[in-house]
Symmetry: C2
Subunit: 321 residues, 2 copies
């Protein structure tokens, strides 16, 4: 079957005779040509975690990407991570938590709307054997498009038909405020409009939560304001184990954990974002907590180590469940 397909492809692009001559020197298995689904399972207490890779946005950056660092400094940080200059490969990894009684998705992915290499979450979920209809709740850290767009498909239909959607109350208040929309800069306006596109017609189904109270079994929202006004992390606890979900507290760790003082252009309140980042990373380092960072390299789970100048992330080692 595979060889036939291959030959058909070849005869489509070159003369049939040449293809038949070339065929015997081809490997029996054609190259796959695309990445495998990104699925990584682990446990905390009795909860099963599944990291779901949604893709990578190859974000082209200019000198304004970090407000208080030069393009050269950012490129140096990229080079230290063996990444190309001028491009921040920003990956997206949502986290599925099976508490035994609830199936909870933390952040909903890009919906494929951040370039050709994004939108892998539904495929990863399918490969993990989970039906979108089985998701009981979606917890949203904040209203940036790469966290909420996956709630709907390209036709505007809800992807997770049975899921209750829970969002931070101050985040809702900020992005749904018509006065703020009117006053928004050209750069910010699309984000206001996008939040409305996702939430307006399902507003009645969206539950707005406050900090400090459990919103799903063992899951409590934690203040992480700064990146956006209502940006929220989550503490997940089961048995005597726990996980701190950082959301966008720290974007690419090779940039923003190593240089915690950097204010990203995407941080609405840069100074507060830095303060929040230091507070959360200090806590994670001191308590040797497992953390999840939405933009950390897949599987986006690791530990924080304090260094002389900032923090390092020690990624979890791929292990059996």
């Amino acid at each position: 079957m595979k060889e036939t397909t291959r030959r058909t492809l070849l005869t489509g692009s070159v003369a049939a005779g040449a293809a038949l001559v070339a065929a015997p020197s081809l490997a029996a298995a054609p190259a796959a040509g695309r990445q495998a689904p990104g699925i990584y399972r682990s446990k905390i207490g009795s909860y099963e975690l599944t990291a779901l890779y949604d893709g990578t946005w190859f974000r082209k950056i200019d000198d304004g990407f970090v407000r208080n660092a030069s393009g050269a400094e950012v490129n140096k940080a990229l080079a230290d991570a063996f990444l190309k200059p001028g491009i921040v490969p920003t990956s997206f990894t949502a986290l599925l938590v099976n508490t035994g009684s609830k199936l909870v998705l933390i952040d909903a992915g890009t919906g494929g709307q951040l370039g050709p290499d994004t939108g892998a979450l539904p495929g990863a979920l399918a490969a993990a054997g989970v039906e979108p209809n089985a998701i009981d709740a979606i917890l949203i850290s904040h209203f940036h498009p790469d966290h909420i767009n996956g709630i709907k498909d390209k036709d505007g239909k809800k992807v997770f038909a049975n899921a209750e959607i829970l969002v931070p109350a101050p985040e809702w208040a900020y992005w749904m405020d018509d006065a703020r929309l009117s006053a928004a800069s050209d750069a910010m306006r699309p984000q206001f409009l996008n939040a409305r596109r996702i939430f307006r017609d399902i507003a009645g189904e969206v539950k707005r939560f406050e900090l400090g109270k459990e919103i799903a079994p063992g899951i409590t929202p934690v203040s992480a304001y700064g990146h956006t006004p209502g940006h929220t992390g989550f503490a997940v606890a089961s048995g005597n184990q726990s996980l701190l979900v950082l959301g966008d507290t720290t974007n690419h760790p090779w940039l923003f954990a190593r240089h915690p003082q950097w204010q990203g252009s995407f941080d609405i309140d840069g100074a507060m974002a830095v303060e929040t980042r230091r507070r959360m990373l200090d806590r994670a380092a001191a308590d040797k907590m497992l953390v999840q960072g939405y933009h950390f390299p897949f599987p986006a789970l690791g530990y924080i180590v304090k260094t002389a100048s900032g923090y390092d992330v020690v990624p979890v080692m791929w292990q059996p469940l």
Copy 2:
């Protein structure tokens, strides 16, 4: 379907009535209960690489695990990696190289013979859509069981029926030497016998290669003697890109890259193993080479950075192909 299955399971273990009462409080999707297949694709030049996770051996260690470091020093290195004391989680990742004309497997996995969490390679290969029969060649770095046992299944049948098997000539000479078997210590004897179990009845099909000459398209064996007498790395080149396959030059990087002077109890010539390790890691660091380490955490690909006291591994960031 899933709910039916779940209820059936429940009624199997508790009274039917109780199960019906309990059912509504369960998450709709049951926990998967096992790790997802470990498959990671990347490219060098026109070659497609597929890292295939075979599993992890939770190796209990004692003071003798590193000949020239105490158990306390090893435990400190494990703690720095957020791993438990007294256990080195030793993972196994084979590398499949599709050169376009050949499908080449570098090392063959454990065959599931290093504990319950090993032997995942055939499943990973299937999930990657590759038939075992499609493999054209298997390159063996050395004759330790975790690298050669996957050549055969539990019934002694060849797993990769059409693959040519290529092994380092000095490795063959060492392990197949009857005089050495007779003189072997009790600890070493099983390794001699295991090598014979794998290779004896297929000896005519096994090709023994020397260093420095291409043995598959773009793949050249590189001296890495020390871990075993014929232990061999591989340089893989396509276009202007290359990869250095380290084999077992560096076992768990948090232990042996960070502490390159450590002589593992599994290194037959500890001093030579250290010399080889430093030479290969120095080269990789100086040339910013992509490296693959059989016992590096999956996907077992990364870059080497020289530090004040040793080396660090910067794992590749999970990206689209």
